[in-house]
């Protein structure tokens, strides 16, 4: 039936439209817009009441003896009028957050994090009506310099999907550390920002590799692994999977190359390679072996191992094996923010890394080579805020999170790190930019739908864009 054909074809529409319309999505913007609307209605109601009160007072001659004194003593009136002026300012920022973001009360807020600039403008606008004698020179001094060559960046919205959110689980905060991660609170002051799609000849953005590019990656991978492709097929989602004499190689439109050996590839006996019970020393040893054995496939100039722990809800430890290329040249022109090798390492470890998976018997099951920059275009190198500034922002309630919890407070911050977020985690992934990520212990997880093992702590992820706020459009 015709209409059912439309219904069927709708199933495969672009994922961005589905995400955009997801009824589960409650972005900060949506929530804020609703709050603003409520505040605006409340302000309107308050104004009407005030107006009625003034009319009543005038008609009954109240306060007519000394209007000036009456106005200065009328606390309720001044509160309402102040609230009204704040509401107009709060259409761009939350006044409650503004006061927290700038405890000093200064209009200067360039140092208070992403929302600082908004907070500052809110305070200035609300201060103007009643404080005409305040020093007007503060604002120009506080305005941060903007490089006109750097476009404004729209921060992708975060998805809030009810009780399900990004986070990690651990028994102790120390376990959140990723051994080998390139960022250890070093002084990175500039990092590149990317547009997640690349502009094609037709002017449209493309978020996927062309088929010939995928086939080239496939051939390159097979060659590096010393395998021959016996057959290849394209899946409905656009990926190409090739069968070889020893496993399959899959290239997906986002540039990921995966080598899968369904039966598992046995490793030499001296190595112990499992998800559950491999010690850190054993993990380091097996990764050294794998990085050497698959060096051609990985193509890393300076391979580095990253080892991570996670836990199942039942409290079982799961080890994850990652590697990345620390070489500055690995990211080509894209990297190198100011030729900083740490910056290149950070970029590669977050967006262009390899993941090794064992099977249940200690064999190598798969190697996945991710390339989060496969279809990305560099926008520019942007100056960053410091970790302390980001911390101030998150404490002021300006962190972005998918966790359905209020920020519990500074004492619960367990870990801070500088990262890029992958495109797939966004509702709208137009920009790939660095963030400070805070793992925050959630003190009360009793409302979560899953059963969590005794003693296992849940840490929600809060993010603050690391790019200086004057370059952020939202």
């Amino acid at each position: 039936m015709n209409r059912q054909k439309i219904m069927d074809s709708l199933n495969d529409i672009d994922e961005r439209f589905i995400l955009e319309a997801s009824p589960a999505v409650r972005t900060n913007k949506t929530i804020k817009a609703k709050q603003v609307k409520r505040i605006a209605w409340a302000a309107l109601a308050a104004s009407v009441l005030l107006f009625a009160g003034v009319l009543f007072a005038l008609s009954h001659g109240i306060g007519s003896k000394d209007p000036a004194q009456s106005a200065s003593n009328d606390e309720s009136g001044s509160v309402i009028s102040e609230a009204s002026s704040t509401v107009s300012g709060s259409e761009v920022s939350d006044p409650g957050q503004a006061s927290e973001a700038s405890p000093s009360g200064q209009a200067s807020s360039g140092e208070t994090g992403p929302s600082g600039a908004e907070s500052g403008s809110s305070e200035v606008s609300s201060a103007q009506p009643g404080n005409s004698d305040s020093e007007p020179t503060e604002t120009p001094e506080a305005t941060p310099a903007i490089d006109p060559d750097l476009p404004m960046i729209t921060v992708p919205a975060f998805i809030n999907q009810g009780m399900f959110f990004e986070g990690r689980m651990a028994y102790e905060a120390e376990e959140l550390t990723t051994a080998g991660s390139p960022w250890e609170m070093t002084d990175i002051s500039v990092l590149p920002v990317f547009r997640s799609g690349r502009t094609g000849a037709d002017g449209w953005s493309s978020y996927a590799l062309e088929e010939e590019e995928m086939r080239a990656r496939l051939a390159e991978a097979a060659d590096a692994l010393g395998l021959s492709v016996t057959s290849a097929e394209t899946s409905a989602s656009g990926g190409i999977t090739a069968a070889t004499e020893d496993g399959t190689i899959t290239v997906t439109p986002d540039g990921t190359v995966s080598y899968l050996q369904p039966a598992g590839h046995p490793l030499p006996e001296e190595y112990h390679f499992t998800s559950r019970d491999t010690t850190p020393e054993e993990a380091e040893a097996v990764m050294a072996y794998l990085l050497e054995t698959y060096a051609d496939f990985l193509g890393f100039e300076e391979p580095r191992t990253m080892l991570q722990y996670d836990y199942t809800y039942g409290g079982e430890c799961v080890r994850r094996y990652y590697a990345y290329d620390a070489a500055d040249s690995a990211t080509g022109e894209a990297a190198g923010a100011a030729g900083d090798p740490t910056a290149a390492g950070l970029l590669n470890s977050c967006l262009r890394y390899a993941h090794f998976s064992p099977d249940d018997f200690g064999n190598l099951l798969s190697i996945r080579l991710c390339d989060g920059l496969a279809c990305a275009e560099k926008i520019g190198d942007y100056p960053l805020i410091t970790a302390e500034e980001a911390r101030a922002a998150v404490l002021a309630g300006n962190g972005l999170t998918s966790a359905p919890f209020d920020f519990p407070g500074a004492d619960y911050i367990a870990k801070t790190e500088l990262v890029y977020r992958g495109a797939s985690q966004y509702e709208d992934a137009e920009a790939l930019l660095p963030y400070y990520r805070f793992y925050v212990e959630l003190p009360d997880t009793s409302g979560l739908p899953m059963q969590i093992a005794d003693g296992l702590k849940v840490y929600g992820a809060w993010y603050v864009p690391a790019v200086q706020p004057q370059y952020l459009a939202s």
């Binding site: 015709n2 209409r3 059912q4 054909k5 439309i6 219904m7 069927d8 074809s9 709708l10 199933n11 495969d12 529409i13 672009d14 994922e15 439209f17 589905i18 995400l19 955009e20 319309a21 997801s22 009824p23 589960a24 998805i159 999907q161 009810g162 009780m163 399900f164 990004e166 986070g167 990690r168 899946s235 989602s237 990926g239 999977t241 399959t248 899959t250 997906t252 439109p253 990921t256 995966s258 899968l260 998800s275 996670d310 199942t312 809800y313 799961v318 994850r320 998976s357 064992p358 099977d359 249940d360 099951l365 798969s366 996945r368 992958g422 495109a423 797939s424 985690q425 739908p449 899953m450």
Partner: protein
């Protein structure tokens, strides 16, 4: 748990994969299935079949967006289940209403010589959706992808029901014109 980690669990053939996917997206998939089927028991079965579908598809697939990957499977399974269940009868749910409304989109000009693949129609739908304003697009997708009722859409977007209805009518007319212009036969 991040999506990439859940996908890793599927790749590793870990039994935790389904548990993790269920914990994170179970509610989302159930909501999609329930809107189509209007019955909790059937919806639950569709969601369980979704995990089986994901288990069979990953690997070799590596979905970029896990929520929509699972959501698409749920939607397809639920529509199939609805068809089998109703077999030509009207169930009185959102699916009947949505299908009735989509009749408006069928072009009167029907080129019988042109056999159009579903993929081509999907491309046309993508172009159509790209051409809509963001709000109209959300309304259209919420109605015909998520099968939400007009009232649910209005509540969720904080607009009136009449605005939603008007937006849907305009979008359907626009889609019909586009299908006519491109001589898409259905």
């Amino acid at each position: 748990m991040q999506d990439s980690q859940i996908v890793d669990l599927f790749w590793e053939r870990s039994e935790n994969a389904v548990a993790a996917a269920s914990a994170k997206y179970g509610k989302y998939c159930f909501s999609i299935a329930h809107h189509i089927l209007g019955n909790a028991e059937d919806a639950e079965e569709s969601v369980n079949d979704t995990y089986l579908g994901a288990w069979n598809a990953i690997p070799p697939h590596r979905p970029a967006v896990l929520s929509t990957f699972l959501g698409k499977i749920t939607r397809r399974i639920s529509i199939d289940r609805w068809r089998k269940r109703t077999a030509g009868k009207r169930s009185g749910g959102q699916m009947d209403l949505a299908l009735d409304e989509l009749t408006d989109c069928i072009p009167t000009l029907n080129n019988a010589e042109q056999a159009v693949e579903n993929a081509v129609l999907t491309q046309t739908l993508n172009r159509f959706l790209s051409s809509l304003e963001a709000e109209a697009r959300k309304i259209f997708v919420q109605r015909y992808w998520y099968l939400l009722s007009v009232r649910e859409i209005a509540d969720g977007l904080d607009v009136s029901e009449s605005k939603v209805k008007m937006s849907l009518m305009r979008s359907r007319n626009r889609l019909r014109r586009l299908l006519e212009e491109e001589e898409v036969s259905l």
